[in-house]
């Protein structure tokens, strides 16, 4: 079984936007993590414009974690795929022109705040702490209930989607909540 763990923060009062759930489910389908009728029923059961209990997303995360011995690279890839879908097939291009823009978009947790609703202390934040475009460095802090490998993938996917950068790295190995971003 996977060594990856889910955050233990309570999520009962949280709601997640259907688009996030659908992005996760569609990413799982695209990556063949789920297939066939199971994938179709997973996707068909989600309304893009509805809010759902956060536990629904937790179930999807669990589906991935329980399926893989090492699920960290898989969750990372799911996060990347979600953001590629958001950029190429969703509204992403309206918010982000280049890779660094995606980081700016996280200022004040504005990107995250649109997809998770609930009591502030439980929602947490996904915040850009610093950004140095010249040196290609940024620091993002996350206190969200999302799984952190998935969030690392979200950052990688969001920054790489506009395809203007030659190098991207996101490292949260020292502190899972602190994402050190390097980009050139």
């Amino acid at each position: 079984m996977s060594h990856v763990k889910l955050p233990e923060a309570p999520t009962q009062q949280l709601l997640v936007h259907g688009s996030t759930l659908l992005g996760f489910a569609q990413a799982c389908k695209n990556l063949s993590i789920v297939a066939g009728s199971r994938a179709s029923s997973l996707i068909n059961a989600i309304d893009l414009h509805q809010l759902y209990p956060f536990e629904r997303l937790r179930e999807l995360e669990r589906l991935v974690i329980e399926s893989y011995i090492d699920s960290a690279p898989i969750l990372e890839r799911v996060g990347q795929e979600m953001m590629l879908l958001w950029y190429h097939e969703g509204p992403g291009k309206a918010f982000v022109r280049d890779g660094a823009d995606f980081l700016t978009f996280q200022s004040g947790s504005q990107g995250y705040a649109s997809v998770v609703h609930g009591p502030k202390e439980l929602v947490g934040s996904f915040d850009l702490l610093s950004l140095d475009r010249e040196r290609g460095k940024a620091l993002v802090k996350s206190t969200t209930p999302f799984q952190k490998d998935l969030e690392r993938g979200v950052l990688l996917g969001g920054i790489s989607a506009p395809k203007d950068l030659d190098y991207i790295d996101v490292d949260n190995s020292a502190d899972p909540q602190l994402f050190h971003v390097t980009f050139h």
Partner: protein, 310 residues
């Protein structure tokens, strides 16, 4: 030459001069490729591990399935053996005045067509014969068949009157059959000196006397559906007469165009060969059936009885 132009070349030139900023980009491009390869490697390793585990699981499940299938086959073989033992044997000794022949073929290892012969309990009767078709196929139908056989065996010492036997059997079996969601057609016939008495609840019977055919009155209900009386009918049955009792397995079989074999076709075949020895009549019926039907869809039973010439 810019870095992008240089990278677009089909081959690396002997010498190239890149600007410091392009050199810097080249550095990060190279590092980026390494990083991507590192991530790809981690992703595909995890995927391969998962695939390996899935194959192991599949192997294990395949083995479990094979074991379960083997157990099932063994159990079915035993069930088939038991059902064969429940079918009548030693037909020739049962009624010397009669010729008997049976075509009985099951769709699965065990089936729901049931035929039986019983020695009569009253002096003026020569033979009792039952042909039943239990709804469904396979093991569930076979279990009901065994139950019906037990009831016949239990009832016959008390009476061999077809109506009395059938009504008692229906009454006793009704609660069980309803619970099991099963029912059965029945033909129960008592052969006497010059006549036969029958009860027919959804079964099929045909009496051929010379060129004249008489079909059994099929208006009575099936066993296991309702507690109502059955009607008993009597027909003459003299030397040379041929009686055919059968289930719907033959007549409802279809050809590749979706047409039924039909009652009329079976009756025509029986009538055309009615004077042949019984085993030859059966062979003709089988040959005609096999030339027509695209595949079997049900259990098949065809019982032939003929009164011997004195």
């Amino acid at each position: 030459m810019t870095l992008d132009e240089w990278l677009a070349l089909p081959d690396a030139p002997e010498q190239v001069e890149l600007s410091p900023s392009d050199m810097r980009r080249l550095f990060w491009k190279y590092r980026g490729l390494l990083k991507t390869r590192e991530r790809e490697h981690a992703y595909w390793s995890a995927t391969n591990d998962n695939l390996f585990r899935a194959y192991e699981k599949l192997d294990h499940q395949e083995q479990q399935l094979a074991e379960a299938f083997s157990r099932l086959e063994e159990e079915l073989a035993v069930a088939k053996q038991i059902q064969s033992a429940l079918m009548p044997s030693g037909l020739d000794e049962l009624a010397p005045q009669l010729e008997l022949a049976v075509w009985h073929q099951q769709l699965n290892a065990v089936g729901g067509d049931y035929f039986d012969f019983f020695a009569p309990t009253h002096a003026d009767a020569q033979l009792l014969c039952a042909v039943c078709d239990i709804s469904g196929h396979g093991v569930s139908a076979a279990l009901v068949m065994a139950y019906l056989k037990a009831l016949f065996t239990q009832s016959l010492p008390h009476s061999d009157e077809p109506r009395a036997v059938t009504e008692w059997l229906n009454q006793v079996a009704l609660p069980f059959l309803k619970q099991a969601k099963k029912y059965a057609t029945i033909n129960f016939v008592r052969i006497r000196e010059q006549e036969l008495d029958y009860v027919c609840g959804g079964g099929f019977g045909l009496l051929i006397h010379g060129q004249e055919c008489t079909s059994f009155n099929r208006k009575d209900h099936f066993i296991g559906l309702r507690d109502r009386p059955f009607s008993q009918h009597t027909l003459p049955f003299v030397a040379g007469d041929l009686l055919a009792l059968y289930t719907d397995g033959i007549i409802e079989a279809q050809n590749s165009d979706g047409q039924d074999y039909s009652l009329a076709r079976l009756e025509r075949t029986l009538l055309a060969h009615a004077t042949l020895p019984l085993d030859q009549i059966l062979e003709r019926c089988k040959a005609d059936y096999h030339s027509f039907r695209s595949h079997d869809v049900d259990d098949i039973t065809l019982v032939l009885l003929r009164r011997r010439q004195r």
